[in-house]
Symmetry: C2
Subunit: 321 residues, 2 copies
């Protein structure tokens, strides 16, 4: 059955049924009014709400023959929840703008909703609302909300010379998985699955804020590009130490087999949604946070003191690949 | 110049420049951190935030040869701000997911942003963030946030037998404008412009909540369809009185010239974003609110006691027109 056959309201009803709203299960949940009205109502106990929007387009951010609907749901949620985590906030809610061709199987939409709800549940958030429209292409716009829990937001602009740079999460895994799939292979599974479903270090975002992080970003466009955003916003130079990036065995093997420099994946691959933050030099890092570089006076990003020139740093969604 | 030529970050910079963020102009504004970071930070003084998402697809919700970019910006904002108003909340912020073909002129995106910012400014809200991606079709997902100002949200589910039904705003104007444009005409301007830019009775939403409205909805799918949503959610029957709907002269004339029943526009046309609410029978209506019917025990919606059968009530975005 296609979404054209169920109709707009039929689709909304089917998808809503899959979204377990924690509000119905306990008074602590953030969703006070879920899908089905003009708007949702979400708790914002801090008195401020953190909000971001991220869009996934079929053929650009995902392919239905490479990822299951559940995978895409996980990824659409993760891309947004990571942005909330990168502010040092706790994600509370997601909204979906679901633009779909009429011939999309209803099961795809249902399994996508399952994936979104499951990823949101990892951080105690839920899908509280959205909109569905018919569209020539499958495009999924997600908005995430979060609560700062009385902390100040960690922006990109606070890094100071002398700060240390640290990261949490994985880098290069999704890019490796993408390259493997692009070449027509399906393994190693760990790398391919990392492209399908990022493993975001959500808890590390709040931890960083508590540890006094001076700046933070989630790596969605590529390590060098995103660290460059911190450098630009803070007016500093960031130098990364290549020796601090360990190369997982599977990644080294795949890079070798494919004839690719694996550090290209690590430094310029996006979409693992690792977190990178800067901290005062006397910080005692904990949790998943590991030191990778240092903040200096100046501008731009270097690796071991040199500009990375192997390829264009990062990813511009409008350029032709 | 096209958006492909400016690139993603160039487009974001150009559009952001157009978005006057009131936070930069005064301490009262709701935007605490605007575009340019992983997420925005918006005041939510009530401790709860109202949130909704609404998507516009080119060719379905707008046409670039029928509306200017500024018009489309107004409409994209209005569709979402009206949903916030229909909860009895004060809109505070908008986020945009802007999915664009590479050949879109940059000026279109800039003027679209101008329209969104101008519509948001009508209610003191601002555009605080978003995402831009390349896409085969022009699709605009907007999320709106709002503050309840310590009032309870007015849902669709509270209408009780004996309540009166009232509306604020205009009905049928956008549908008339759409019909006129569809037939290749461009006048009367008042109707055509109503399709291009709805005039949403924003203040009436908060007033209704203050007057004790028991249920409220914004008319986006058509009067009968949306009143039907109140009836279904509340488990009541709603009877509208046709005599309470005055037929504007321009609408009567255009309907006559086009051979259309103007009440078809009024009862089934969407996208004027009028507000319809139910109130306790002893309410003293004020502002733009005018009585149009009564709530009874039972189910469904009637006009003068009869089911409206002239055409399908309302609008399902997945059905073929």
């Amino acid at each position: 059955m296609t979404v054209a056959q169920t109709g707009e309201f039929g689709l909304i009803e089917r998808v809503t049924r899959r979204l377990a709203i924690p509000a119905q299960n306990g008074a602590d949940a953030d969703c006070l009014l879920g899908p089905g009205d003009d708007a949702a109502v979400v708790r914002a106990p801090d008195g401020r709400v953190v909000a971001c929007t991220d869009v996934l387009v079929e053929g650009r951010h995902f392919r239905r023959d490479w990822s299951t609907a559940t995978d895409v749901g996980h990824r659409a949620a993760a891309a947004n929840l990571a942005d909330i985590a990168a502010m040092g906030a706790r994600p509370t809610a997601l909204l979906i703008g679901f633009c779909t061709p009429r011939d999309l199987p209803v099961e795809w939409a249902e399994e996508f909703a399952d994936g979104m709800a499951a990823e949101a549940a990892l951080v105690g958030a839920s899908v509280v609302g959205g909109d569905t429209v018919a569209s020539p292409s499958l495009t999924i716009a997600v908005t995430a909300l979060g609560d700062l829990q009385r902390r100040e937001p960690v922006t990109r602009a606070g890094a100071r010379p002398g700060d240390i740079v640290a990261m949490a999460g994985r880098l290069g895994w999704a890019a490796a998985g993408y390259t493997i799939l692009s070449r027509g292979f399906r393994s190693p599974g760990a790398l391919v699955n990392a492209f399908r479903r990022p493993e975001v270090p959500y808890a590390a975002g709040i931890l960083a804020a508590e540890l006094g992080a001076t700046a933070m970003i989630d790596v969605s466009d590529g390590m060098l590009a995103d660290v460059g955003h911190i450098a630009a916003a803070s007016g500093v130079h960031i130098d990364l130490r290549r020796a601090n990036f360990t190369l997982p065995r599977q990644m080294a093997d795949s890079a070798n087999a494919l004839g690719v420099d694996p550090y290209e994946w690590i430094f310029t691959g996006g979409e693992d949604h690792a977190l990178v933050a800067t901290f005062p030099p006397d910080v005692m890092l904990g949790g998943e946070w590991a030191e990778i570089g240092v903040v200096r006076a100046g501008e731009g990003v270097t690796v071991d003191g040199t500009r990375w020139t192997r390829s264009a740093a990062g990813w511009d969604h409008f350029r032709q690949e």
